[in-house]
């Protein structure tokens, strides 16, 4: 694993390794001294062309907990607003000695371009690109599901996850469909037809237009997606008649919450539109793991940075040779 660009690139074993590493990282975060010396002297650049609160802070926290230096770069207030290209920005970062670049970009595929165009020579982590992928979000979701419903080890075989809402604009949904099915879970996408992308029937997921029917199927985890109004024109932009109607048909409220199985958990990648896709009752219920998802995000990103950055930049060596060196 040289870069982390898409959840689809991860094999079953790689995904489980990341989750296992994240579990060890999470254990260190319960200590009084949370900082580890592992990446001392390395520099991680957060390159954010799109607004973000929790993902940027989460990556920054993860890097700092591993003792890496962090450079934050956001498009606002930088030379990008003067028209600097991605290539020139990347080469500037390379010249400053970046050891890893965490990139968020409004265009799908920008992290891939950055990783393979030959502009820079370090691992690239995708922190969300357009409506394409957000692999660390899906890893933290899988980690949270595994901790609550699979005993905290192995994969997610046999579990059923419902992903509800604005699938069309959601890179979180795409990454989760890829990763959760790789880990053996069954995924059902629930959305109005207008908020499903063309070609969704080819995804390895079932599709439902009715939330109540999907919940009657007994999902183990319900993942609510944010309605991404900034990617629509005003007031739903023709994707649905009104917020009230969307909320009635696809919102998670107390009544729907009561129909869930006892062990089922409620997830949301944040930021939440309370009263639209999720009611305050549901967001604050004991089933809601939204806050825990944020905490797990730090552990998962520590694991990703460790696995990409800590070892020698060489092809993997067989297990028994590592023991000789130990």
């Amino acid at each position: 694993m040289r870069h982390l660009l898409s959840a689809k690139d991860l094999s079953h074993d790689e995904a489980v390794l990341i989750l296992d590493t994240a579990a060890q990282m999470a254990a260190t975060q319960a200590r009084e001294i949370k900082k580890l010396p592992t990446l001392r002297g390395r520099t991680v650049v957060n390159l954010f062309f799109e607004d973000s609160t929790r993902t940027r802070i989460s990556f920054e926290t993860a890097a700092k907990r591993l003792s890496a230096d962090v450079l934050n770069f956001s498009a606002k207030g930088s030379s990008v607003s003067k028209g600097e290209s991605l290539k020139d920005t990347a080469q500037t970062l390379q010249a400053m000695g970046a050891d890893a670049v965490v990139v968020r970009h409004q265009s799908s595929g920008a992290p891939h371009r950055l990783a393979y165009a030959g502009w820079i020579d370090c691992p690239v982590v995708n922190a969300g690109d357009g409506t394409h992928q957000h692999p660390t979000q899906s890893l933290l979701d899988a980690f949270t599901i595994r901790r609550h419903l699979a005993g905290g080890t192995g994969d997610l075989a046999g579990l059923h996850v419902a992903i509800v809402g604005d699938v069309l604009h959601s890179r979180v949904a795409r990454s989760n469909v890829d990763l959760l099915t790789t880990l053996g879970a069954r995924v059902t996408l629930v959305a109005p037809p207008t908020l499903l992308p063309v070609g969704v029937e080819a995804w390895p997921a079932a599709i439902s237009y009715h939330l109540d029917e999907a919940l009657a199927d007994g999902p183990d985890a319900v993942m609510m997606l944010r309605v991404q109004r900034e990617r629509m024109s005003s007031a739903g932009g023709g994707f649905f008649p009104s917020g009230q109607e969307y909320s009635r048909l696809y919102g998670l409220d107390q009544r729907r919450l009561d129909t869930l199985a006892d062990h089922a958990i409620v997830m949301h990648p944040g930021p939440m539109n309370r009263g639209l896709e999720i009611s305050a009752d549901a967001a604050d219920s004991p089933r809601s793991v939204v806050v825990e998802q944020v905490a797990n995000g730090v552990a998962v990103r520590m694991a990703v940075l460790y696995l990409l950055l800590a070892g020698a930049q060489a092809p993997a060596v067989a297990d028994d040779e590592m023991k000789v060196l130990a």
Binding site: K35, P37, D320, A326
Partner: protein, 194 residues
């Protein structure tokens, strides 16, 4: 974890067998009790992979000799991977578990347990890892084999066997828990190793 490709016979010489390993661990347990005047405040931390079963055996020996000692309550594991100084020179290592007894290490006497003491770098990493967990009253080191060639000013308090070796040789510790049988082997120069 994978079984070794090379057969252990031929150039490998067995220097310790199961009875010798058992006797060494019994003696070390007595030395620990003698030095610390009992088992009060002792915490035994094994360094994965093979330090961990050794720590468990040592704690069981302590419990067998000293009344009122619960082996499970004083044993733990200490993973030092994230504190190593050579991470950038090797392929990415898998991180092991760190499990400290519920009472923690503050004010305790921590006995670190590892299989082979060689350069001393693992122990340096372990000392850093411990200081992030708390402040023990003292840290002592028990190893099954001391093979020399230290690169740091570190020595063991309890040694199962001092084994003079050439740095081209390779010392291999086998334990029933991880390898199916007990034994310490010396293998001739193979070109690998450090």
């Amino acid at each position: 974890m994978s079984p070794e490709m090379r057969a252990p016979d031929g150039e490998a010489a067995e220097v310790l067998g199961p009875p010798e390993i058992g006797r060494a661990l019994t003696r070390i347990a007595h030395e620990i009790l003698e030095r610390n005047k009992g088992a009060e405040g002792l915490v035994v931390l094994g360094i994965p992979t093979r330090g961990l079963p050794l720590a468990r055996r040592l704690a069981a020996n302590l419990a067998a000799v000293e009344p009122g000692v619960d082996a499970d309550k004083i044993t733990g594991s200490l993973d030092v991977t994230m504190y190593r100084d050579d991470l950038a020179h090797h392929p990415t290592r898998t991180i092991g578990a760190t499990l400290v007894p519920p009472d923690g290490v503050d004010g305790k006497v921590v006995v670190l347990v590892d299989d082979v003491l060689y350069s001393g770098r693992t122990i340096r990493a372990a000392l850093d890892a411990i200081s992030d967990l708390g402040r023990p009253r003292a840290v002592q080191l028990a190893v099954l084999v001391d093979r020399g060639h230290r690169e740091l000013p570190i020595r063991a308090d309890y040694v199962g066997k001092n084994l003079p070796t050439a740095s081209t040789e390779r010392v291999r510790v086998l334990l029933a828990e991880t390898d199916g049988r007990d034994g310490v082997l010396i293998e001739g120069p193979t070109g690998e190793g450090r």
